[in-house]
Amino acid sequence: MKLYAYCITRTATQPPSAATGMFDRKTYPITAGELSAFVSDVAEEAIVIDKQSVLTHQKVVGSLLDQTTPLPFRFGTVVSEAQLTSYLESRRQALLEKLALVDGCVEMSIKIIWQKSALETRAKTDLAESVAGNSVGTEFLRKKSAELAGNQQLTEQANDIATWLESCLGSAIRDIRVSVSPSQRLVLAADCLVPRVGLDSYQAAVDAARSERPDLHFLASGPWAPYSFVNIDLEFKSHFGVS
């Protein structure tokens, strides 16, 4: 029998109020000293991604978040009890440090998206710069050059927005992970570690940022378990067996 792992907490944590996990199986803790991992039994070797299973994972982690700040596992973590116990014992110190780091906090996320008009303006500018009568080769190179210049400009703008956002949030957050990716629409994704007692200040800072930049579209969500703050170095060798 394999175990589906949801998250790690300190041992004293009570079982989640959402007691059933994947496939309606009961969730329970596997304990190794000061650490407990909440799991449920699974017969399957691979977990199918569907809406129900993703929401079930989040429901179990979320119900533990109501009473403490757990270290959540990524979706699809299926292990034997021996593997899990070995993991808890061998990573004991690092896991306790992570728990101390996120203690009393939750993760709040912000995604910033360009408003449509900004992209349309850029497209119109590109079009206006097009010179009639160019050869196919010249036109190709010109478009390529414009594309590269446009991408660089977008990246610079996105970096400026990231710096501005961090300054807006200031002391309302304990830590932040920002991923700047000026794709077609997304400017950046920011995940903030926010003290539970400071959620009102955080919300006020986000509201103020929204008001300051009406040209940007904000998507704010949370509270989440600290998914973005738990990875331990050298443990990214995950294997995605997609079948």
Partner: protein, 85 residues
């Protein structure tokens, strides 16, 4: 696996998504992309090799398929516009 947001933004207007859709997208973004990893112990399978639709046509895989959706949508839009003229 890239962020579901990255994928859905290719083919959708965020403004047109319902709050429940965004909530699911955010859940996917956190649960599938982040969190503790025990080396070698994540094994997931998908219902379709290239593409996963999770209720609201959220693409979490395959840019190729996403591009097909975009092209099909653009073609439908053109047809609609020409029939309105």
């Amino acid at each position: 696996m890239s962020s579901p947001f990255e994928q859905v933004l290719i083919s959708s207007d965020v403004e047109q998504l319902e709050e429940a859709d965004l909530s699911l997208l955010e859940t996917l973004d956190h649960v599938l992309n982040k969190g503790l990893v025990i080396a070698g112990e994540i094994t997931i399978s998908v219902a379709d090799v290239d593409l996963i639709f999770l209720g609201l046509n959220v693409l979490v895989s395959s840019v190729e398929k996403a591009n097909e959706v975009v092209r099909a949508r653009a073609a439908r839009q053109l047809e609609k516009e020409s029939s309105n003229r």
